[in-house]
Symmetry: C2
Subunit: 495 residues, 2 copies
């Protein structure tokens, strides 16, 4: 892919002088159209040291309105990023609708020697890496983001010439580091690594554009041209098809029948008061110890709570964290997305809250809203919430690949119990604020939720991220089961 | 302040057992009222090593709903924070309305030996530090945030006992570090430093509460009691006075007359085409070099653009950054604040965008909106926008104390020129989107803006953060003046 590229491409000075300005003008006009079309664009620059990434980015953005693009340098990985799944930092920075984000050095290089995964990864880790990368890029493109990946390729001789030139000028000598020369000396080895990386992360939706960059003018023309073509093609596509067109995805025609999990749960499970008190105390003490251990071993933990309204999520969470060091956890209540959040991929607002290594994040409702309330209330078209099953499994896989302990609870009460609790809230002035019209509305949709929940179990119950149904008619029983499940899972993970 | 505190306070076991639960219940109820009253609460824990900060925070939050508080550990300063003014990280994390944020280790300790300012600061730096801290706390309380500062005080013997106990248990031995024992050995010196720090940062609105913490039960009672009292007192205050009461501040009764700066500016300044081209090229080349130098010297730069509508801010910014490395700058367009932003102090959204050391941030409109559009359109009560002059000067001082090069431009055109430009936009389909009804509305308020702008100059033109008026009837002249001013300022700063 790289080794057979002819690097002798050049661009004549006069042609360049005439051809670049109109191309840049075109980029400026396209930027305006990108804003109007609310198209998110992510442009990735990868390549050899001294291949001209910085200069090339400058050429691309030079004609653009500087208020509406972002350039991010991701070469040096920050504290925050090192302590999280490797895609986390990129997730946090995905472009909003109508925004162009340019990244200098990308998530691809994480696996290269000397980069983030430097500890020497196993074959399995490498496979997980490539799978996670492919999923990430596909999720972005599925959501409408245009991802343009450029690799700037130069020859060994040209690279050496450039390092020498930089070193010859006192104002730029600091730019050449020992590892740059090391790359040049072992050019062939690095070539093989780059090539392997490009092949593994090449997909039809997000292909690599190889830029022959020995000649700077040729590279500039090809980079600007590639980006302009890609944006233009996408804009034409968007303008051609009516906005509310049928989805390209094949949608299952009828709601398939999933095993009726919920209907077979007996929500009535009991525990007597003395047993409750004893179990609560001993389990909370275990949680304290396990919390310390997780911190020492730098293992993060994510727990999602879903369940019927009034099923006791808040109370369950409270008992779960009661004896944890409050500096080690965050509880994130999920409400309807804000306009700011709606401007990005729906997983964005969850990813950005994921815990640092050694910490806990507990979600009170979660990314499963996509296939529950958004489905039942028809807030999201079917082909989009259907796509979410895969997206969710992929995100959860990415978290567990990183070593995250991931648990998902469904708090189950039956319809009678819910009515009792609603009425109790209504009659208690101190608790009236906890009951809203939306709760009654959801209750009317009970059967629809049952179907959605059963399908959710079937599609997203995985070995690394299992669903646990908590029989919750008795609040005390539920709390103990939650604590028991979490402590067991943490112990197993720490073994 | 610390040395004369009697640390022999204790709390009897039986009293404690009876008294703590109701106190915690009270805290839980207060948390609910805080949410309803939309009161932001910031609780700060400082103190000796092993004084029980973690345990105490746990006691305070234990009864609360974990979805509605945040606990932040700020002991270890992150990459991002080290490269910015020392208050930046705290600004980014101030509580929103109705939120309780608890900070374990605070901005106060930055100045202590071995902490962030470890390079050995001068007397001037220390004074700047204390002034910045005082301003920060006052700005938060002025904006309605309740700031509660607690210092956990233990004796030398008690500290040694606790270190030994921690070391005696294999599961907690890792918590005691070399610097902890160093603190214990040099207890008296540290006592003096703490005392000095507390005295310097003691203010009527944000006093330090010293907690005698040798006895854990006594400390728990006093901490919970102090917090509950402070919150309750503030809530009662809020409930007592009608929301739209007269401001406590004394407001100047009549609009004072400031020197008419704008009326005396001749916006017509010319430059011929050849001179423009030559100057543009040479200044942009200088910018490239200066950009590099700023990066090498790790100096950040902040530039704010204000001016009449259609005065050419966008074009000026574009020429300014044209030859800068796009990885080194960000341009931030300021629009009306979102609900999310309105939930916090109005400086929050600007502070969080401030550049890392070595980088540029350019604001297209800025924090001066508070005393311009918010004043003219009466979006903000007078006593609040009046307060902003000080707040702005203080924020800018904090930036320049850190070494930020700060410039503020007012792009000035006269009323006829603006009309010409509005009409040109109206008649050009490609530019119609740049002209809105709001622009015409602002134009009708020209005289009001003139008064507001003149007062703004008078109140916020400071030595470290001067206003530069750019005569902009001729766009080319304006661009050159901007570039000239910035390059001169950077050169002066780097000398």
């Amino acid at each position: 892919m790289l080794s057979n590229i002819d690097l002798r491409q050049t661009c004549d000075k006069h042609i360049f002088k005439d051809a670049l300005p109109p191309l840049q003008k075109k980029l400026a006009a396209l930027q305006q159209r990108v804003r109007e079309a609310k198209l998110p664009v992510l442009i990735v620059f990868e390549g050899w040291g001294a291949s001209g990434k910085g200069t090339s980015i400058a050429r691309v953005v030079n004609p653009m309105d500087p208020r509406y693009f972002d350039v991010l340098t991701m070469g040096k990985v920050s504290d925050d990023m090192v302590k999280r799944p490797f895609l986390w930092g990129y997730w946090c920075r995905i472009p909003a609708k109508g925004q162009i984000t340019i990244i200098d050095k990308s998530w691809h290089r994480v696996i290269l020697p000397g980069e983030q995964m430097k500890w020497g990864h196993t074959e399995t880790e490498a496979n997980e890496f490539y799978r996670d990368v492919t999923h990430f890029e596909r999720q972005l493109t599925d959501d409408g983001t245009l991802v343009i990946k450029l690799f700037l390729h130069i020859s060994q001789d040209e690279q050496a010439r450039r390092f020498h030139a930089l070193e010859g000028d006192p104002s730029s000598a600091w730019r050449v580091k020992a590892h740059d020369w090391a790359q040049n000396k072992q050019y062939d080895m690095h070539l093989k690594q780059f090539e392997h990386l490009l092949l593994q992360t090449q997909t039809p939706q997000t292909p690599w554009h190889i830029i022959e960059a020995d000649d700077r003018r040729y590279a500039a023309m090809k980079i600007c041209g590639t980006i302009a073509d890609a944006i233009e093609a996408r804009l034409e596509q968007l303008e051609a098809k009516p906005k509310k067109s049928a989805p390209a995805l094949i949608v299952e025609k009828s709601v398939p029948f999933y095993s009726q999990v919920l209907a077979n749960v007996n929500a009535d499970q009991d525990i007597d008061n003395a047993a409750y008190k004893e179990a609560l105390e001993s389990l909370q003490t275990r949680m304290t110890h396990l919390g310390h251990k997780m911190y020492l071993k730098r293992r993060p933990c994510v727990i999602a709570f879903e369940g019927w309204d009034a099923s006791g999520k808040g109370g369950g969470i409270k008992r779960l964290v009661a004896e944890l060091d409050p500096r080690s956890y965050a509880v994130v209540p999920i409400e309807a997305p804000t306009p700011h959040e709606l401007g990005r991929h729906y997983l964005w607002r969850f990813m950005r809250r994921m815990p640092k290594d050694g910490h806990f994040t507990i979600f009170d409702r979660s990314w499963y809203g996509r296939v529950l309330i958004e489905r039942v209330d028809e807030l999201t078209p079917e082909h989009i919430w259907r796509r979410a099953y895969d997206e969710i499994n992929e995100m959860e896989a990415h978290l567990t690949h990183h070593g995250t302990v991931l648990l998902k609870f469904w708090l189950h009460i039956d319809k009678d119990e819910q009515l009792k609790r609603f009425e109790a809230r209504q009659n208690n002035p101190a608790k009236q604020h906890k009951l809203t019209e939306a709760d009654w509305q959801n209750r009317r949709n009970w059967e629809k939720y049952e179907i959605a929940t059963d399908e959710m179990f079937a599609k997203t119950h995985t070995e690394n991220a299992p669903w646990v149904i908590v029989e919750s008619n008795n609040k005390k029983f539920a709390r103990i089961k939650i604590l028991q499940t979490v402590t067991d899972a943490l112990e197993a993970a720490l073994r």
